[in-house]
Symmetry: C2
Subunit: 383 residues, 2 copies
């Protein structure tokens, strides 16, 4: 058969779950991983260990792949352009992906498209931060973000005063562009996830609520409870617009703030399978991982509709106990319908080492089951 | 983490799908495969290529595995006993598995347990076949089966007369025990699939209808349409009894004949994930593959209940076109809810190279969608 080969750069859990989703599709999956101990490298059949920042490594890896896609945003944009110049299909392409790599570029482009964003400005020094706060953001607190390289709350500071901004000097000293943004007074965070293929087909998943704790995604509820239909459709349309205008191929996660007056503002973009879409593995007809593979291969996309009235995903973070196996066994015994997804990673406090998913008709019950299992696995409850 | 290692012997599609199911469970999966090109070897992370009939190979493979389980029944029983004597956990164990390996032993044991079976007798030569037909089976036709080694219609002959039995001489000449059975006048075939763990927990999947074409499973409908509840429960109880009495660990498929007068008779046993359970990947809360892994590790079992009123699985057999990719693309475009499972195998006419699954509320629609996709992929329809 001439089934194609998907090459994925990055060996984290997103690649692990993409490999899992690719198995029934019959595609070959090749992985470029930093280490043979990475989450995806433990389970994939064809693993190249190498540095994704090295162009020669990328070029050698790309040979024999029909398309290159990503577990993370850390491949240098210029290397992606070099691969494209070699004739390699890179999806999402560098001109799209740069908007997930560089928050300053993202804000400029989305604003030009008329997409609602928090007020923002690239700042050079603490004096700039004070000016931005006083003249544009309606005062402190404001949010400072390194334009490149941050994730899961890293590279992000909330500063409550000009003095505090003075103390956050590391990003300025590092010479990386820093983005200042108003601190949006949101009622909750949402995510609108869509998948788009090169020939322009796109599908939109139900808009979800994403509950963050300490800047890390903690729980996702699908669909977002109580979200007015008009807001949900507007959020989906906004995500589809961004995917189309930026020519994204593959999965696009648009993280959103929902404000008290019913508006949505774009927080972040991710152009890969995303934590806010993990619920789709058990909760949707076609998972984000399967649709990402289908999209980067320009195959027809699968049905994104939910399979149950409510699906809840809760991240399993590492706790104080390095061995989760006894807790895992307990959770399986307590709830035979629980869907556990472990990443094969060593447990470190606060590290994402897995997630659990539950679904059903009663949101309170579905939520309690997911919450209980995640907390029990982490070791913060013992019943 | 101390997550365990499951070693699976045999590199076919059952191992491929078991690996897929093991990824979210966080277990390590090691494969002993005849070839690096086998279906499961293409996607598994830890593959040993070697001969499952060689005890030294098995012993070396078993080192570092917490449990050994199987994609097929072809490992010699004496090797399994040797592994057990070495202290290896073999699940299902040889004393159970021998009943799936040897049809004569299986018939004797089930009959002793009072499990309804077709009338049967081990025969030595064509004269024995004639005696069995005339004195026990109510006349010809009768079914001849090699006691060991048959599958998918291979090693099975239906003989309509004593003269025809004379012509089926190969198994007698080969010196393998041959089992003669009455040809049951069944209305359809069913399968009762259960999973049992070493500590004795067991779950039963809904009883399904299995439609065979030329001795090969073609379509499975879950649950079996129109099956009286009492018959379904009786079939499940029968499968649970067999699992308990034979001390099966892992998945047990009990293939059944349903007779016009509402009885069920056991046709075959398989102690591994089975074609009649593939529907569970998309149609049940916990798939047969995930529950097989959980069972052989003695983990609590997952919920076997269906997720939709109807689920239909249709096998994709190889046709005249070696390249299925264009047809695959067409099927995805036609039906975004279609679940395709390809095995990565080269297409040969009649070979099982994948399956498709559909589910929904309307059986006629669900069945038509699965049938259409399987036929289109095989190339026997072009619209």
């Amino acid at each position: 058969m001439t089934f194609p080969v998907v090459g994925m750069v990055g060996g984290g859990q997103l690649a692990r779950m993409t490999h899992e989703a690719g198995i029934p599709l019959g595609i070959r999956f090749k992985l470029l991983s930093d280490s043979s101990r990475d989450s995806a490298a433990l389970v994939a059949g064809e693993v190249v260990v190498g540095d994704h920042r090295d162009l020669d490594t990328l070029r050698a890896f790309a040979k024999g792949c029909d398309v290159i896609t990503f577990d993370h945003e850390h491949v240098p944009t210029e290397h992606l352009r070099a691969l494209e110049a070699d004739g390699i299909a890179v999806r999402p392409g560098p001109d799209a992906l740069v908007h997930a790599q560089d928050k300053a570029l993202m804000r400029a482009r989305l604003t030009a498209l008329g997409v609602p964003c928090p007020r923002h400005r690239v700042v050079e020094d603490p004096a700039d931060v004070r000016r931005f706060a006083e003249t544009e953001a309606g005062g402190f607190p404001v949010v400072l973000k390194t334009a490149r390289g941050g994730y899961d709350g890293k590279g992000v500071w909330v500063v409550g005063s000009a003095e505090e901004a003075e103390r956050v000097t590391a990003p300025f000293l590092a010479g990386v562009p820093v983005l200042a943004e108003e601190k949006v007074d949101f009622v909750r965070e949402l995510a609108a996830n869509v998948v788009r293929s090169p020939h322009g087909q796109a599908v939109a998943y139900p808009v979800v609520e994403s509950v963050q704790v300490d800047g890390v995604c903690d729980t996702v509820i699908a669909p977002a409870p109580g979200l007015p239909a008009a807001t949900a459709v507007a959020a989906q349309e906004l995500a589809l617009t961004i995917a189309r205008e930026l020519e994204v191929t593959g999965h696009l996660a648009v993280e959103l703030f929902e404000t008290a007056d019913g508006r949505v503002l774009v927080n972040e973009l991710a152009m890969r399978p995303h934590n806010s879409g993990h619920w789709t593995q058990d909760g949707a007809v076609t998972s984000q991982f399967a649709n990402h593979v289908r999209a980067v291969l320009d195959l027809p996309l699968g049905d994104p509709r939910p399979r149950a009235p409510w699906t809840v995903m809760a991240n399993v973070l590492g706790g104080d106990f390095p061995d989760m196996y006894p807790a895992y066994l307990h959770c399986m015994a307590r709830d035979p319908g629980l869907k556990i997804h472990m990443y094969g990673k060593d447990v470190k406090p606060g590290r994402k080492v897995g997630h659990v998913t539950t679904y059903g008709d009663d949101l309170a019950d579905v939520r309690e089951r997911a919450r209980h299992a995640a907390d029990y696995l982490r070791g913060i409850i013992d019943e």
